[in-house]
């Protein structure tokens, strides 16, 4: 659906993107993760046909973004990081305007607008002025205008930037819902966001892809488990070390009186629930004062920091 090959972008002498290569399959949600200034928005702009690449190619739905820009623009829905909205327009009029610009015929327009408004759950504000809406609503109006022409590919640049936690959850749910029959590529610098919404993640730093992996399957299914206790954990640490099914155990730095445990491969799998239940009941029986147990999803976080730090070290070495 999206194929990017050796993408390079120069602003004057400054190289913003160094030979990016990635692809996103049909029906996947791909997260583009990186610190501010990593080149995320530039990549999004190139994919949306708003900036020309200096070298390399990007193909969306079989159309090249440079030579077949109009076809690409018709096939995608783009939500830039600062959503473009006319403050003096009413919500439904604005979405209808975008539909018309994107070539939705007059006959289908009102149905398309209705559908987009209901997809984004904003029918209740359809006759209000955009300038009077809260930021969360405005973001959803912008999203509605990006998908009103039923694009096969959605490109979302920091879709939850500046929203409150409640609105973030709503937008995330919306993206998951929309992703069912579309390909979505979204950029973010928030780890948990990518974790919550994406199937694949691409980590980008200083214009280079430093890591790329799937969030569904793999060692994501073998998470480390955090056990918290009422008291000091020395004796429990020894308890875990003696068990044959534990591969690694250590103090969990982020939380007091807690241990983070990595079990061996065969502990997970089909019997995982039963195994976990057994470990928990034994801990309780042995009177360690267990207070909580949860999966530690640090996979992405460590991947991100490792990738970024390695990159800075090697970049420093070059300089």
């Amino acid at each position: 659906m999206i194929e990017v090959k050796d993408l390079v972008k120069l602003y004057g002498d400054r190289k913003v993107l160094h030979k990016l290569n990635f692809s996103v399959g049909v029906g996947r949600v791909c997260g583009f993760l990186g610190p501010n200034g990593a080149g995320k928005s530039t990549t999004m702009d190139i994919l949306a046909g708003l900036t020309g690449p200096s070298d390399g190619t990007a193909v969306i739905c079989g159309y090249d973004v440079v030579t077949q820009t109009r076809e690409v623009k018709a096939a995608i829905g783009y939500l830039p990081d600062n959503p473009p909205l006319y403050r003096e327009m009413r919500v439904a009029d604005f979405v209808a305007y975008c539909a018309s610009l994107r070539g939705v015929s007059t006959a289908n327009r009102s149905a398309a607008v209705e559908q987009a408004l209901s997809d984004c759950d904003i029918q209740d504000v359809s006759s209000r002025l955009i300038g009077n809406l809260s930021k969360g609503y405005r973001q959803r109006v912008a999203l509605a205008s990006a998908l009103v022409h039923q694009p096969k590919v959605l490109i979302l640049d920091e879709p939850t930037e500046g929203l409150d936690p409640n609105q973030i959850i709503l937008i995330r749910e919306l993206i998951r819902k929309l992703a069912k029959d579309r390909t979505v590529i979204l950029s973010s610098h928030i780890l948990s966001e990518v974790q919550a919404t994406c199937d694949d993640v691409i980590i980008i730093n200083q214009g280079k892809i430093v890591a790329q992996r799937s969030l569904t399957g793999g060692d994501h299914n073998n998470p480390r488990i955090v056990f918290s206790f009422a008291d000091k954990t020395d004796s429990v640490l020894n308890w875990f070390k003696k068990k044959t099914f534990v591969s690694e155990v250590e103090d969990f730095g982020e939380r007091k009186n807690s241990l983070v445990v990595q079990f061996k491969e065969d502990f997970y799998g089909d019997a995982r629930a039963a195994n976990m239940a057994q470990v928990n009941s034994q801990l309780v029986q042995d009177g360690f004062g267990l207070t909580s147990v949860y999966e530690h999803r640090s996979g992405l976080e460590s991947l991100f920091f490792d990738a970024i730090n390695n990159e800075s070290v090697s970049a420093g070495g070059q300089a």
Binding site: L50, N82, P84, Y86, E88, Y97, L101
Partner: protein, 242 residues
Amino acid sequence: MSKVLTIAKRDFRGFLGTPAGWMAACLIFLVSGLLFSIVTRQLLVNQQAVDPVADIMGSILGFLNYINIFVVPIFTMRVMSEELAQGTFRLQAGAPITSEQIVFGKFFGIMFYFAVIAALLLVYPLFAVVFAEPDYKVLATGYLGFILNIAAIVAIGLFVGSLTDNGVISYLGSVFFIILFLFSAYIDGAPEWYKKSVNILELGNELSRGILKTSSVAIYASIISIFLFLSRLVVETKRWRV
């Protein structure tokens, strides 16, 4: 064509949705109203009116041609520079439409607005028609000059506006550029055809007195197409680096 109309209609409604559009209309009607009363009084006192309608409308439209140098750039600034600054230009830049459609859409959006203003200005000749038999030809050429003059300023303003995303620079730049353009007619040694072509105000005044020449219309058409073409070039390059 439908995309051009889509943009034009939105811009036109946008003018009515903000105070700027109404204040510009107020200014035009204030000036024209004052002129109407001054000119009619003058004509009545001197008892010299040959054709009250043509004479009155000629003065009003001729004077408005000057006022428009300062009014029209407000609108070109809004549809070009402000949209570049607020990012709404991306809506059009990212849509599957050509750059000509964007420029024509913005051009006609402003022209719709001034067409409505021109229609409402008909209240003066209607008022005078009660008292006299007007020379409709002078009236028609006056209106033609009024519209062509605005169209030329819109084209120039769109070009200057497309170069900057700063509203103030866009407005002052357009006014400055238009005045410079007009006054370049007085450069010593400039070719005669050039002097005749750039002074669009003089052409507008000629038309408002009922002097219709093919060359005047051709000059206006050339100025409009040259600057719309230049705007299109700038918009096309902007679309690749917004």
